[in-house]
Symmetry: C2
Subunit: 127 residues, 2 copies
């Protein structure tokens, strides 16, 4: 268990990681433009956040050109896993099943999604 990771990202940092995971490589401006859609905040705020993330080792950046290019260093799955586990412990008293049902209950899920999950469960059962 080499815990290389476990720099916990803040709420805002997660939003940015999110974008980097999806887009791959981004400039500050690109990130900022996406952020702007759902948020009110200035460009230098985004910049600062990404600089801090770099200090913390959450992202890497290429500074060879004037405009720096960032990419996520945190692994998406690991981060998701970590957050989900935390949530199960903190909010669902350790019951993954409860969280699952809660998640499926409201967040109207398509038949395809439901089937995908069923298959997944079958595989799990076999072990």
């Amino acid at each position: 268990m080499t815990e290389v990771n476990h720099l916990k990202a803040t709420e805002s940092e997660l939003e940015i990681l999110q974008i980097l995971w999806e887009k791959g490589n981004c400039t500050v401006r690109e990130v900022h433009e996406i952020l702007e859609k759902s948020k009110e905040s200035g460009y230098t705020t985004t910049l600062k956040l990404m600089q801090i993330m770099h200090e913390k080792g959450l992202v890497a950046r290429d500074t060879s050109a004037k405009t720096h290019v960032y990419r996520a260093l945190q692994n998406q799955e690991k981060t998701q896993q970590h957050l989900v586990n935390k949530m199960i412990d903190n909010v669902f008293n350790g019951s993954a099943a409860r969280l699952v049902m809660q998640a499926l209950g409201n967040h109207s899920t398509s038949k395809d999604e439901i089937n995908a999950i069923k298959e997944y469960l079958d595989q799990l059962s076999k072990k």
Copy 2:
């Protein structure tokens, strides 16, 4: 849609709500003793937190005796729902299924739990 709720609890406040949900009515000391097991912090810290939660309307308290007794005012399911939805949006790009699989993958789930979820899925399918 009477939004009575939606005072968002902080991380620490959630831990306390958790305990109150499980135990029902608690004194500060009871809460603190449980908290202590997983956390390093003083009694007055817990007290202060619970006082703040009272100000915010997250908990009610009975002050008729010297030692006050607290209980949660936030509804557990609603709070869970809210947090899960937020997580699906923020961290799983809107896919509940992804969260579910992530949740089940690592957090070693018992056969009983898996079966419970399957049944639940069957019910969902029928609609």
